[in-house]
Amino acid sequence: MLTGCDVSSLVIDRLCDQAGGRDVAVACFYFDFAAQKEHSPTNVLGVLLKQVVGGLDEVPGEIVRAYENQKKVLGGRGPRLSDIVGMLQTTTSEKRTFICIDALDECVVGHQIKLLGSLSQILQKSPGTRIFVTGRPHIETQVKRRLAGRVTSVSITPRRDDIISYLRARLDEDPIPDAMDSSLEADILKKIPDDISEMCVWLPTLGRLH
């Protein structure tokens, strides 16, 4: 329906569309319970930096030097969190940057705190950087505490129009259209949006029947 990641993907697409032709960088990351181990703050901030740098004509000298230095030790050592944060502070100060992070609640709590702390450091140096975050309501306090005074929040409960668009799209994809007639369709489009909570039980069932 209207999931957190749908919202993130919508926002990312809109920002990318707007960025086309202008000097703007858009970097995103989707957290996932299933991959908590790989999603360390260093890897996540690293991939944000990778996307920003990927859009530049040249890799900044600071990053080339850090790479050269780490390559010489231990047969090639990865970047350190503090280096990544420093490099993000520089690159985001030089170019308008949008950072989108989806499902922050799916990240290990310890990592969450480190990540939010790093984002706060980036904003201190580069206050024009825009950061978009989605997550379940329980992490809002943490987000607001770590990014004190810099957060606006919005609730993404689905609207009636969202539910109708979703139902229309799903009905349209119905693989056995013979089972559907116009009065049943009208019933579905009227009754389901009337009771959003019921829908959580309904739709997975509908999916399984197919």
Binding site: T3, K50, V64, E68, Q70, V151, V154, I156
Partner: protein, 81 residues
């Protein structure tokens, strides 16, 4: 020194990018983008919160650099796609 760095960086660009992080969020974005129903959530982009967040540049004290969207787990955040 600068010239050396530029040549070096151009040669090593893919290696440097891979070194920054092994993750590749592009594929996940593509997956979600394809399963998403067009127009859903469009209202969010029209809210005052989104517009002023998007347009802000950190110049004012009232500027909010971070937009947090709380998802209601009851809306089937994970199961309903």
């Amino acid at each position: 020194m600068n010239t050396f760095n530029t040549i070096n960086a151009a040669d090593h660009r893919p290696n440097i990018l891979a070194w920054l992080s092994p993750l590749e969020p592009r594929l996940r974005h593509q997956d979600i983008q394809e399963s998403r129903v067009e127009d859903i959530g469009e209202w969010l982009l029209q809210t005052e919160e989104f517009r002023s967040w998007c347009a802000g540049s950190g110049g004012h004290e009232s500027d909010r650099a971070v937009l947090f969207c709380r998802g209601d787990p009851g809306a089937g955040k994970t199961y309903i796609r």
